[in-house]
């Protein structure tokens, strides 16, 4: 990623967060990653003046959060005039059909199920990293 896109990771499981970060780094992605383990913390950050002023964003979102549903955050983001163009990658354990449909309906850009098998998991995250490296994120104005 040539432009300084900031990655906002919303993930309540610190183990997962660390594994995701490790594997993204292994894919040679060096962008700044801001990690939030609660939905509210993530929302507060996303809607703060600082983040709005700080250029393009990419959101990595887990659906099962302790304080709210990931889909609620997704809905908030996509409802916001300025944030709605920020790409959202849903990265979660759920592979329920209804849930996947709902996320795409709400405007998520990519939906990835975390594979339990670590090799696949690591591969998936690395591929996501490769994907991110060629992806263009819109500028937030």
């Amino acid at each position: 990623m040539s432009n300084p896109v900031k990655i906002v990771m919303v993930e309540d499981d610190h183990g997962h967060a660390k594994l995701i970060e490790k594997n993204i780094r292994r894919a040679n992605i060096s962008n700044e990653i801001a990690h939030f383990d609660t939905g509210q913390g993530a929302l507060d950050h996303l809607f703060s003046a600082e983040s709005l002023a700080n250029g393009p964003l990419l959101i990595l979102l887990d659906l099962n959060l302790p304080d709210m549903q990931g889909t609620d955050i997704l809905a908030e983001v996509k409802r916001d005039e300025r944030l709605k163009r920020a790409p959202v990658v849903v990265l979660t354990t759920t592979d329920d059909k209804a849930e996947i449909q709902r996320c795409y309906d709400l405007g998520c850009n990519v939906y990835i199920t975390k594979p339990v098998d670590y090799e696949s998991f690591a591969a998936a995250i690395r591929q996501l990293g490769l994907f991110l490296s060629v992806m263009q994120a819109p500028v937030i104005e």
């Binding site: 183990g15 997962h16 975390k114 594979p115 339990v116 670590y118």
Partner: protein, 510 residues
């Protein structure tokens, strides 16, 4: 026969001893019937008596009339006799003879009518005697007159013997009249008495019947009121029951939904830590390899620095531990996926349709043809009855059972699998999947249907999921699954479904 009779008596006895409404009504009706019978009987007797009485009165009147006619006839004869004596004209004599001829028949008639009892016979004799004597006297006078001794004849008439006889006869017949009159009066009085008695009996019986009818009416009305009251009570209880059933059903449905949701959530939430376990195990493995590499390097450069314990730990203990963690987490993942699959199947919407089971099962049989060929086995699918149910569920159930039959064939003999079915009275249809495979021991017949449980030699891959899934699905379709099996001989799995699957509003079988 005797026991039957004794039983009947016993029952009647018990019935009579119990103070019940039925007994009261039967008793009242029996009394009413008896009263009616008595009234009828007395009326009948009265009618009989009246008829007898009328007959008797009639007979007596006939007799009295005959007596009077007899007397009149004799008087006619006497008149003609006197006329002849006075005039000597033979036509008087002709009349006289006619009267005498008639007399015999009249006398006979009179005797027959009157000589029916003792006094009657005596009276008949008396009248006969007097009338004969009178005729003899008249004939004697006639003989004298004809013999030309007219004065003697007149003198005899003047002697008054004939007249006295006539008077006596008259008196005798009057006696007869009187006796009969008094007898009739007596009989009339008697008849009136019995008529009055009958009237009274009838009146009492009528009154009794009216009273009993009233009692029965009251009893029946009370009974009907009781009946209505108990009907109402029953209705209330029924309404309560329906309410209870509805409440329980709702509670059960809720509980079931909760269990489903629970299974779903648990399996998802269990996966999340599993990702970590597996991930960091892989990281550990990588780290171990890095250390191992380092150790090898150190070993070649400075073998003294290497502790043999550290070497064992890096080269054996760590890889072994990682291997076990990995195998267990993989297994756990499979189990979680199994639970997830079951819970998904439990949440799937059922759509009943008519299923041509013969076609469906033959297609399933074709899909295992390859395995069957390898195992030197055959599958026979008979013509199967149709079924109205959810296609996917039935397909999965039958598919699972056929897969199992193929999977657990006994290699010692050529495999034979048969699928057959029949309609069962009461709106059911039954299918059997019969194999001659390795069979299942008695003690495992229930266990095999439990989640993650397997039976027999564990030489085939599997999670112990198939039959749990089968039982779950069959129950959801309102059916049953059962197994009959002898270890070493084969198994028969029996599926029983309702012929038509009817769903309630919640989408569950009724």
């Amino acid at each position: 026969m005797r026991t039957a009779l004794a039983d009947l008596i016993d029952r009647i006895d018990r019935f009579a001893r119990q103070r019940t409404l039925g007994r009261s009504i039967v008793l009242a009706l029996a009394i009413a019937m008896a009263a009616l019978l008595v009234a009828n009987l007395s009326t009948f007797i009265l009618v009989q008596r009246t008829a007898q009485f009328n007959e008797r009165v009639d007979a007596q009147w006939q007799a009295r009339r005959s007596g009077r006619l007899l007397l009149l006839n004799l008087k006619d004869a006497e008149t003609s006799h006197r006329g002849y004596l006075l005039t000597g004209r033979p036509d008087f004599l002709l009349e006289y003879r006619g009267a005498l001829t008639a007399h015999e028949a009249m006398l006979e008639n009179f005797r027959r009518q009157i000589a029916v009892d003792n006094p009657g016979a005596a009276e008949a004799e008396e009248v006969t005697r007097l009338s004969r004597e009178k005729i003899a006297e008249m004939n004697q006078v006639l003989e004298l007159f004809r013999a030309g001794r007219a004065p003697d004849a007149i003198a005899q008439v003047r002697g008054g013997q004939g007249q006295a006889l006539m008077r006596e006869l008259d008196e005798a017949l009057t006696d007869v009249d009187r006796r009969m009159g008094s007898e009739i009066a007596q009989a009339t009085a008697q008849s009136e008495g019995s008529a009055a008695f009958t009237s009274v009996v009838n009146a009492i019986a009528g009154l009794l019947i009216l009273i009993l009818a009233g009692i029965v009416f009251l009893l029946v009305r009370r009974y009907l009121e009781d009946l209505r009251a108990s009907q109402a009570a029953l209705d209330r209880v029924n309404a309560g029951l329906e309410e209870t059933v509805r409440a329980r059903t709702a509670a059960l449905t809720r509980a079931n939904e909760e269990v489903q949701r629970f299974a779903y959530i648990v399996s998802h939430d269990l996966r999340s830590p599993l990702v970590n376990v597996m991930g960091y195990t892989a990281e550990l493995e990588q780290a171990g390899k890095a250390i191992d590499l380092q150790m090898t390097k150190v070993e070649t450069v400075a073998p003294d620095l290497i502790e043999s314990d550290a070497l064992t730990a890096t080269r054996e203990d760590i890889p072994e531990a990682v291997g076990f963690i990995r195998a267990s987490t993989e297994k756990m993942d499979r189990l979680i996926n199994a639970i997830l699959k079951l819970s998904r199947e439990g949440r799937r919407t059922l759509t009943p349709e008519t299923l041509d089971m013969t076609v469906m099962v033959r297609r399933i049989a074709d899909s295992v043809a390859h395995q069957l060929g390898q195992a030197d086995a055959e599958i026979v699918v008979a013509d199967l009855p149709e079924l109205e149910s959810d296609r996917l569920s039935v397909e999965q159930v039958v598919g699972n059972l056929i897969d199992n039959a193929v999977k657990y064939l006994d290699p010692k003999r050529p495999g034979h699998i048969e699928v057959r079915g029949r309609d069962v009275p009461g709106g059911w249809v039954e299918y059997e999947i019969v194999d001659n495979g390795r069979g299942i021991s008695d003690r495992d017949h229930e266990r095999i249907f439990e989640l993650f449980r397997r039976a027999g030699r564990q030489d085939r891959p599997g999670e112990g999921l198939g039959l749990a899934f089968v039982r779950n699905s069959v129950r959801r379709l309102g059916g049953e699954v059962a197994v009959e099996s002898v270890l070493g001989e084969g198994s028969t799995f029996r599926l029983k479904f309702p012929k038509r699957l009817i769903l309630d509003e919640a989408g569950d079988p009724l």
